[in-house]
Amino acid sequence: MRSRRVALGITLLVTALVTVPVAVPAGAPEAHAVSEQQTKILRVGVTQEVDSLNPFISITRTGTDILRTGFDYLTVYNQEDYSPIGSLAESWETSQDKLTWTFKLRDGLKWSDGEPLTAEDPAWTFNKMLDDEVARTANGSYVKQWESVEATDEHTLVIKTKVPQATMLALDIPIVPEHVWSKVADIGAAPQFPMVGSGPYTIQEFKEAQFTKLKANPNFWRGKPKVEELHFIYYRNSDAAVTALQNGEIDLVNRLNPTQFDSLESNPDIARNKAQNRRFNEILINPGAATFDGKPIGDGNPALKDIKLRQAIATAIDSKTLVDKVWGGYAEEAQGYIPPVFGEFAWSPPEDLKREFSLDEANAMLDEAGYRKGPNGVRLDKQGKPLNLRLMTHAEANLDEVAGPFVKGWLAEIGINITLQPLSDNQVNESTTRGEFDLAFSGWNANPDPDYVLSLQTCASRPNAEGKGNTPDSFLCDEEYDELYNQQLQEFDRGKRVDLVKQMQEVLHDRATLVILGYDNALEAYRKDAFEGFPLQPREGGVIMNQQGYWGYYGATPAGEGPVPVFNDDGTASASDAETSEAADEESSNTGVVLAIVGGVILVLLVGGLLFARGRRRTADERE
């Protein structure tokens, strides 16, 4: 009898362990509903872990996204079109020689703890970075060429640089309160919570691999946000985040894949946002990698030095299929090197140059170039060796994983044997920088000003013999291209410059050291029943999350409290003229407005581009 009782006990125990938590949700959603009534919380699902919330350390996409809402900057990118406008700084001026910058801070700035925010705070922040190597971890590149930083009075900050620096209005450095951070012994250590900040929210609590909680900052100079709390909740896998969105556990999520985006379509409580990305995706073809002084490096297949072979490969890659099958239609077909989101500089090949996808044509090109087919259908190079090429893919990138087999399949049809080599992001970076690849997936975030991405293809961007010092892209080193590049650098007539940039893209297209695959969209979704909408950046067809600023989170508008604000460059906000929901599904035709504003700030951005695109796509994917 006793054993029976023991058995019963175990059964009860197991049942209890399983059913008690099951029974909980009956009460839990109510608790959720109640808490929503009391405080307005914006719960954001993120699929990337926070590396650190130390403003001097954090470099991941999620980390910087959170810090942007917690700490203000001297200047910020506007909501409209990424133009720099004042934030903590109200105005600024530069000396004749462009070596001295004087920033005027706004009146009455306050930290979240009520202490006044003066020029001493940015001065301390910058000086700390000048003095302490650890403090330079995340954003050290900005201050590399600085001479000195000084707060001449409460409102005035004077920065002297050694050489003229174009990024002075794009300093992506969170300003920290001196009265807190001067007492920190180890500047690289994890910060204390709650953090004293100056952004629209203050960071209250951080749970490793779980969530970050922020509270509205009543002292934010633009005014307190409508949302009282902002939670960033970490989901290791994006399906879980989507399910959570469907269940109402979170309100906003981004970086959806096409399947997820489609599956949310039918949900009446969820609004979707398909935004244009600044990114282009490409496959690099190693044309014979060399160092900046022309010494060959790497182990690229020498056959690829032949432009005919590269062009044939480019002809055998079908952007349309990739857009349909890989991106599920949420992308734009390949055109020029500059993504179409930057309409002015974007180029698309004219009919006579356009490479229509055709395997027959590619085969014909190869036949003509003298690549005979070997016994097993694989073509032989000029030395009679079979054309076996490696295609390096990022092991964690869905695009590479899905698109790789397509490229392999197409190239097999034209007699080129591809071995797929999935490697970690870092390994791909190292290998491509050292020229140790045949074909490789790559991609970049472009900027309103195309200078930086254009510079990647110049001879000068190639690395030293150790594969360090520079970040090359395709190892193209072409006289004509470099000539055009230098011309556009010095060209101040916008129309002529646009022309030059288009010519450069034509050269790139012809040399075929890279094949553009397409431009994918950023897919986001939010709970329409909980939120009216969010300010997008850029305002037309832009993103909610991962903005270059705090507009999306700051302007989050709970349901019934609309309309969604539009943030003007003078620091005011006006009511939005359009619904953000589903807005991006219609293609924006407002390029004229964009053009005008872009023109106004073009000089600043011309040299300032460096900061935007300073990383390669796969890491850019992971960080800002």
């Binding site: 058995a7 690289g188 250590a189 959570a244 556990e249 970690s424 030293n464």
Partner: protein, 341 residues
């Protein structure tokens, strides 16, 4: 031990097996020594494995950020990567002895801190799941062995085998799909749960349901099968006939005599299979975004955060080794036979 037989018998009788004084201490020390040797191997392997992983550590650190050669050299200097490998090893050993597992490249915090943060959730998940799995496995195993060939035996063994045959992550995925909306899909607690203990605990329990069920489903089969075969083996033993001859009821025979003996090999197995459980935990934590060591390991692998990897490897392996030493000691307490041999 004094022999108590009569003098003549003492002189003539076969000598009983010697029992040494201080045997317990010796035994424990031997086991601890063995554990230390294993631990040393783990440490060496951890060093070798994560230093031979191809890839430039410095590049990894900077993760594609533009950095001048001087800056890289500086970092190399700071991390001691320019020293000979053996010196690096000594360095690593020295710091390890001080509980310093290095600095995570990605998170920029001491690996030790990172691991300590993640230890709790993993202990909770693995602990609860193991307890349930052991209880369930032993109970089912005992029942099915005792009623060998019965329908209960056939069905429960079949179910256990089927679950055991299933990849952990797949089971998790199916559970996710099947219970959509009933349970949280990720994490350990909602961000907006009231901070009081009861709400937090209930919320954690709620979050734990799916990961725990998945882990239990995959691991309990082992315990059931071993308990079953172990008990079957004991069931032929003579002392059970003795017990029956004494007039003991069937269930008493089972509970007092058969099960305690059959339990012994199972106990060892529970600990020996902790490595397996941890493998399961990596899968489960990945599928359910459980913020534990398994997820940390996988994420560290993804971004090739070598010090972090090294740290999780050493800690996970060390934990299993420690548990095995404890198991050996426990075994000695449970099984008097081990004490003498």
């Amino acid at each position: 031990m004094s022999d108590i037989l009569t003098p003549t018998e003492d002189a003539l009788a076969e000598a009983p097996p010697p029992t040494r004084g201080g045997g317990a201490l010796r035994y424990v020390l031997t086991k601890i020594g063995g554990g230390l040797v294993s631990m040393a191997l783990v440490v060496v392997l951890g060093f070798l494995l994560f230093r031979v992983l191809p890839g430039d550590v410095i590049q990894t650190m900077f993760r594609g950020r533009p950095a001048s050669p001087e800056l890289m050299a500086e970092a190399e200097e700071r991390l001691g990567l320019n020293k000979p490998l053996f010196e690096q090893f000594l360095d690593y050993l020295w710091r390890l002895l001080h509980g310093d597992l290095g600095q995570s490249y990605v998170f920029n915090v001491p690996v030790t801190d990172k691991i300590l943060e993640r230890l709790g959730p993993t202990l909770l998940l693995v602990g609860v799941a193991t307890l349930i799995a052991v209880a369930l496995g032993l109970w089912l195993g005992t029942r099915s062995a005792w009623r060998r060939g019965s329908r209960f035996d056939r069905i429960s063994t079949g179910v256990a085998l089927a679950l055991w045959s299933t990849p952990t992550f797949w089971l998790g995925m199916l559970l996710l799909a099947a219970t959509s909306g009933l349970f949280p899909t990720a994490g350990i607690v909602y961000s907006d749960t009231a901070p009081d203990f009861l709400s937090q605990a209930l919320d954690v329990a709620h979050h734990m349901v799916l990961p725990t069920i998945t882990l239990v489903a995959v691991i309990y089969a082992q315990y059931q099968l071993v308990m079953r075969s172990s008990l079957l083996e004991e069931m032929g033993a003579d002392y059970l006939t003795t017990a029956r001859a004494k007039g003991l009821r069937d269930d008493l025979v089972r509970r007092r005599h058969a099960v305690p003996n059959a339990l012994l090999p199972t106990v060892t197995l529970v600990f020996l299979h902790l490595g397996f459980v941890i493998a399961g935990a990596v899968s489960v934590e990945t599928v359910f975004s459980w913020p534990g060591l398994g997820l940390l390991t996988y994420d560290a692998l993804r971004v090739r955060d070598l010090p972090l990897l090294q740290g999780t490897f050493v800690v996970l392996a060390g934990a299993v080794i420690l548990m095995n030493v404890l198991a050996d000691v426990l075994y000695r307490v449970l099984d008097p036979r081990v004490r003498a041999s």
